[in-house]
């Protein structure tokens, strides 16, 4: 079990413009993509996660698409000076040029969500230009009134008729190198991942899947890996609001027999 690719534990840093200064980005948590709580500074927190040996980081700018603003480069550039692990950034990415700008400023991967739905040819264009390994298609999912999973865009504000499994397959075909699947219903609720959603997507694609939305206890990560078969689990609220850091969570995951990096 030791000699194999490890499952990944990924703190997710969600950012919004500060209520006090539009130029300043603050780290926030959300509940079902609403109820925003400011919790700190994204780059400082990223450094803490580096010290705690997180496997990767995901930075998401929650305001960019709703405000039709370009993605921010200064946060990732600052983080890249001191953080030596893979970093994904998303929020407001609409073009190959946006990809280029973020990659030049220190991102290793770029997440696209709304733009991928409305201009899916961007997935292919970015994948051909920069390689599939840096194209992460982020899929936000909510259950409708009859319990069916549907894809939402614009940071959970706009519904679509897309079935997330079909969309995931299409994203892979178009050149996505990885999928970030988030349950809006579970986001920030600490009720556990939507395992059914994750498992359905993992079974239907061959690219790595990052599961997100709902982790409240370490066992939720274990479920994501064992039942959901996710390659990675990402969490925001989980690491922000309790006495749990990636090192402790890692020990729980290892004890469940899941291959994860221990010696760092």
């Amino acid at each position: 079990m030791k000699y194999m690719l490890k499952r990944r534990l990924i703190p997710k840093l969600q950012m919004k413009q500060s209520r006090f200064s539009a130029e300043h980005m603050v780290l926030v948590t959300t509940v079902q993509f609403n109820k925003v709580i400011e919790v700190g500074d994204p780059v400082s927190q990223a450094k803490i996660y580096q010290a705690q040996a997180a496997d990767e980081l995901i930075f998401l700018d929650l305001d960019a698409t709703p405000q039709s603003r370009k993605p921010l480069t200064h946060i990732i550039r600052k983080a890249a000076e001191e953080i030596f692990m893979p970093m994904t950034i998303g929020g407001g990415v609409q073009s190959v040029q946006d990809f280029r700008l973020l990659l030049e400023n220190g991102a290793d991967k770029v997440a696209i969500n709304t733009a991928a739905v409305y201009t899916p040819e961007l997935i292919t264009a970015a994948s051909e230009r920069f390689g599939a390994q840096c194209v992460v298609v982020s899929i936000d999912v909510r259950r409708n009134e009859v319990g069916k999973h549907r894809v939402w865009t614009h940071c959970g504000k706009q519904p679509t008729n897309l079935d997330p499994v079909e969309w995931a397959q299409q994203a892979e075909e178009r050149g996505a190198g990885e999928l970030l699947v988030t349950s809006i219903d579970r986001d920030g609720t600490r009720q556990g991942l939507d395992i059914e959603l994750i498992a359905r997507i993992v079974e239907s694609v061959s690219v790595p899947v990052i599961a997100a939305g709902g982790c409240g206890v370490a066992l939720d990560f274990v479920d994501g890996f064992l039942k959901g078969k996710a390659d990675a689990v990402a969490a925001g609220t989980f690491f922000c609001f309790q006495d749990q850091n990636p090192m402790q969570t890692r020990a729980h995951i290892a004890n469940a027999g899941i291959p994860i990096r221990l010696h760092t």
Partner: protein, 207 residues
């Protein structure tokens, strides 16, 4: 302070590798033209993304003759990273067939894991086993984890060239070394403390 000459063909983003080499204690010379390499006494050859773009960057930028001269004739130590390592092979089959630098008797071929559940690309941290006494592994614990992102790997004709391996539904070449040439498939600049240690080891390596 040790100076590293970094090959910059304009194809790759070098920010992360620059930051990591500086953190490891290097002074950097970014070489956008072949002649910038002239006084190099230590070279890093990075590479991410498509093989074709990377090798075209080297060939069309005119870097190949001077790299051959410095590395093969003058024995200047060089570290290749990811596609930078793959370009040291004689050819790659990624997206066609492309000739490489030919410093190693090796081909770059797609990973074909025996276990169909293993995903391509390999993305993430994998246990890496170095041969006894490898200079890049000095001061590292046994079997450290490093960060990989790749769909193709270097298949060496000569097992003596293989300095480290990892398992991904078969044995994958993780590092190669021959004379003054060393290279890693994994990304030391993304592998936290162990990665920085690998870069420090390269800086102090006397082949």
């Amino acid at each position: 302070m040790i100076t590293v000459h970094l090959v910059d063909t304009g194809v790759n983003n070098l920010l992360s590798i620059c930051n990591a080499l500086e953190m490891a204690g290097a002074r950097l010379e970014i070489c956008r033209h072949p002649e910038d390499l002239r006084n190099a006494d230590r070279i890093v050859l990075p590479g991410v993304g498509a093989y074709r773009d990377c090798i075209h960057g080297l060939v069309h930028g005119g870097f190949v003759p001077i790299l051959n001269e410095l590395v093969l004739s003058n024995n200047i130590p060089i570290l290749g990273i990811c596609v930078g390592m793959q370009m040291m092979a004689r050819r790659s089959y990624e997206g066609g067939e492309y000739e490489g630098l030919g410093w190693f008797d090796a081909d770059v071929v797609k990973i074909q894991p025996s276990d169909p559940h293993l995903r391509i690309p390999q993305i993430g941290w994998n246990t890496t086993t170095f041969r006894e006494g490898e200079p890049l592994a000095q001061g590292l614990p046994a079997d450290p984890d490093f960060y990989y992102v790749h769909s193709y790997y270097l298949r060496c004709d000569n097992p003596n060239d293989i300095a480290a391996t990892c398992q991904y539904g078969g044995i994958i070449t993780a590092s190669i070394r021959k004379n003054n040439i060393v290279a890693t498939q994994f990304h030391p600049e993304k592998s936290q403390d162990f990665g920085l240690r690998v870069l420090e080891n390269f800086l102090s390596w006397q082949p």
